[in-house]
Amino acid sequence: MQKGGVMILTNIDSIPGKRILEHYGLVAGSTVRAKNAFVDLGASLKNIVGGELRSYTQLLEESRAQAVSRMIQQGEQLGANAILNVRFSTSNIAQGASELYVYGTAVKVE
């Protein structure tokens, strides 16, 4: 999910094995995505027999990766090399569109 850079992400209060030198505060990234009508058509066929909707899984994975990379970008601008306590949240904005939001605390570790 994470591309480029050497940013360390964790969702706990520390980076095990490393000491925190400096705190930079909150960094966040978000993206709002709408469903693709063609993907939706395939999904509605799959809906008859049930099971995993791979195209959706992929779509959401890509969107979440984008939100994460935006958060990392923000952290890099602050000069951080790690982000702690990362949380994810998803909300439905409208029928067929949802927002993926990710946030955490940017820090510098040794």
Binding site: M1, Q2, I8, L9, T10, N11, I12, D13, I15, P16, G17, K18, A43, S44, K46, N47, I48, V49, G50, G51, E52, L53, R54, Y56, T57, L60, E61, R64, V86, R87, F88, S89, T90, S91, N92, S98
Partner: protein
């Protein structure tokens, strides 16, 4: 005539949903159980203080797993009827159970070689009204020096 055709179409969808959907679910559960046995050695905990004392840590990083899973047409209708009467909707219970276990498994499979996954969180979100949910699991994988 048109109504009759619609009725036949509906019944066919329900029947296909029932027979194929049950098979799909059964197969998925078999797969889940086999993969759970494979990843049993990697514990995923919801707390943060489970690191071994004086263990040397080489790496800690976030790992993720997600799945979008949908119920079949038959169970969708059953759940719809359930909605009128209220009570337990077991058709959706298995759907969410499958989704959660699948997401956790994918997370663990993204953390191969790790010794523990700390602070695991599971989140789910509705994708459509047609019984489709997304389940997302994440945590921090910790690697000890060996």
């Amino acid at each position: 005539m048109r109504d009759l055709f619609d009725l036949i179409y509906f019944c066919a969808m329900v029947a296909i949903g029932y027979f194929v959907g049950t098979q799909v679910e059964k197969k998925h559960y078999q797969e889940i159980i086999a993969r759970e046995a494979d990843t049993m050695k990697l514990p995923a905990v919801t707390g943060q203080d489970y690191l071994e004392d004086n263990a040397q840590i080489t790496e800690a990083r976030m790992v993720y797993g997600s799945v979008v899973i949908s119920t079949d047409y038959f169970r969708l209708i059953v759940a719809g009827l359930r909605n009128l009467l209220g009570g337990e909707v077991s058709a959706y219970e298995t759907l969410l159970d499958r989704g959660r276990r699948e997401a956790v498994l994918r997370m663990k499979e993204n953390a191969i070689g790790a010794d523990i996954i700390l602070n695991m969180r599971i989140e789910s979100c509705q994708i459509s009204q047609m019984g489709t949910v997304e389940v997302f699991a994440y945590g921090t994988a910790v690697y000890y020096k060996k």
